[in-house]
């Protein structure tokens, strides 16, 4: 028991003293996660609007695929992207395997379905009068899109945060495509796995505490935003 108490104590020490190795892992993780969330959001937003607002023959099929992809296992994405960017893959010449870009590609693919589906639901739930009113006010197609995004902003931010939470805590993609290279592709989750195996439990625990705190912060922000929306409606 003393071992674990001691580990917790040392983990907190590592956090409080801003241990350079801990900081490096957290910074790498945040950089990669923020990049992939940003790229995925840019792609997901118009995609969600397209699916939610347009009538087309394959819409039902696309929605089923999208819903199925919500529970996409990270290792499946990892192996799929691996087959593309590894030396024998289509994009093998670009040397993307075991680089931060490799992880970002995998994470983008992982969370596009999640963010798209969540934003699609938000847009579905918006009042149809929003569009009619925008048209009657003389909004162009682009202005209507902007108004739509503005009206759905709280839901969209919630979707983006959910996507960020998913990539920050995933390990499959980061491990398979990043290779856990120190200072380059070592993220919080891959470092935790490695350091635990190496017996550096306190170090892994410190990262675990940080990951948990970040998750708490993400949920807190999401909750706060939802509350903000509700207050405005009251």
């Amino acid at each position: 028991m003393d071992y674990y108490t001691d580990a917790i104590f040392r983990a907190l020490q590592l956090i409080i003293s801003l241990d350079s190795e801990v900081i490096q892992v957290v910074t790498t993780s945040l950089k990669i996660s923020i990049s992939s969330t940003f790229i995925a959001s840019i792609i997901s937003m118009p995609l969600a609007v397209l699916i939610a607002r347009n009538k087309f023959k394959t819409k039902k099929f696309i929605n089923i695929i999208l819903n199925t992809m919500l529970s996409l296992p990270t290792v499946v994405v990892g192996i799929f992207v691996y087959s593309i960017i590894s030396r024998r893959g289509v994009l093998g010449e670009l040397d993307l395997l075991f680089t931060p870009i490799g992880i970002i590609i995998g994470q983008v693919i992982l969370i596009i379905p999640l963010i798209t589906a969540l934003i699609r639901n938000v847009i579905f739930s918006l009042d149809e009068k929003l569009y009619k009113t925008a048209t009657s006010m003389g909004a162009s197609r682009r202005q209507k899109f902007k108004l739509l995004i503005s009206e759905a902003r709280y839901g969209i931010i919630g979707a983006v945060i959910a996507g960020f939470g998913r990539v920050l805590g995933e390990i499959g993609v980061s491990m398979m495509l990043g290779g856990n290279i120190k200072g380059v592709t070592r993220t919080i989750t891959t470092a935790m796995s490695l350091e635990t195996n190496k017996g550096r439990f306190a170090f892994a625990l410190a990262l675990g505490i940080i990951l948990l705190s970040l998750s708490f912060l993400i949920n807190f922000v999401t909750y706060f935003l939802q509350e903000g929306k509700n207050y405005e409606r009251r």
Binding site: T133, T135, G138, S140
Partner: protein, 242 residues
């Protein structure tokens, strides 16, 4: 004297699933007049208004603006920006009352100093000056409708479409609307109004069209509304409706 037509529709048909919502051979909107469309529930009044105001383009048939036939591509932004609609149940966007009234001007890239002047002017006319900084979602039904009237009129539209604007309002708001509406509309404005309000029809109507089952039952240009002038054919349905 031949009346000026600003909008004309020919053989308009709107179908939803198996149901024909609208099937109109001919309908005209007279320039600078109050054009009333009346009819019972499901008679196609709002569907017709949506097509005339270019909000709905999912229909078959011909639509003319000042004698020029419009195809769906030519129902462009510039033309839509000459129109404005006051809806029965107005949608106000997230933000302040000022933001909502200013929105059509913002969409037209009007400078913020101009917007400020125009919004204040319009707010004063509709007696909503004190509401400008309030969140639009905190307003009562009557206040929301005033905001939507201000938002529609602020661009000084060539044609103003009004879709049963007083149906969901309380007595006080209806009174305000009826006593102020005619003054808010300029002489150059054409108004297309869907209404059930007996007083509005009596005081404002210059052309009246009765729809029934998606078709034009009776249409008549009038000077002073008088039920007797319409004869038995129209008197009964109008009396029943209003």
């Amino acid at each position: 004297m031949k009346e000026d037509k600003i909008i004309e529709v020919k053989n308009i048909k709107k179908v939803c699933g198996d149901k024909t919502i609208l099937d109109i051979e001919r309908f005209e909107v007279l320039k600078n007049k109050f054009n009333f469309i009346i009819g019972g529930n499901g008679s196609g009044k709002t569907s017709l208004l949506n097509i005339l105001s270019l909000v709905d383009q999912d229909y078959r048939g011909e639509l003319y603006y000042k004698g020029q036939k419009l195809n769906k591509e030519s129902q462009n932004l510039n033309l839509r920006r000459k129109f404005a609609v006051i809806w029965q149940d107005p949608y106000l966007y997230r933000g302040s009352v000022f933001y909502n009234i200013a929105l059509p001007l913002k969409l037209r890239d009007i400078s913020s100093s101009q917007i400020k002047i125009k919004v204040k002017e319009m707010a004063a006319r509709l007696e909503i000056d004190e509401l400008l900084e309030q969140s639009a979602h905190t307003l009562s039904g009557g206040e929301k409708q005033k905001i939507s009237i201000a938002r529609a009129l602020i661009t000084d539209p060539e044609i103003l479409f009004v879709d049963e604007a007083t149906t969901n309002l309380d007595e006080e708001s209806i009174h305000f609307f009826n006593s102020h509406f005619a003054d808010l509309v300029t002489d150059e404005m054409t108004v297309v109004m869907v209404s059930h309000d007996r007083r509005q029809i009596k005081e404002l109507a210059e052309k009246i069209t009765l729809l029934k089952g998606g078709e034009v039952e009776i249409t008549k240009n009038i000077n002073n509304f008088n039920f007797e002038l319409f004869g038995a054919g129209i008197e009964a349905p109008i009396a029943e409706l209003v």
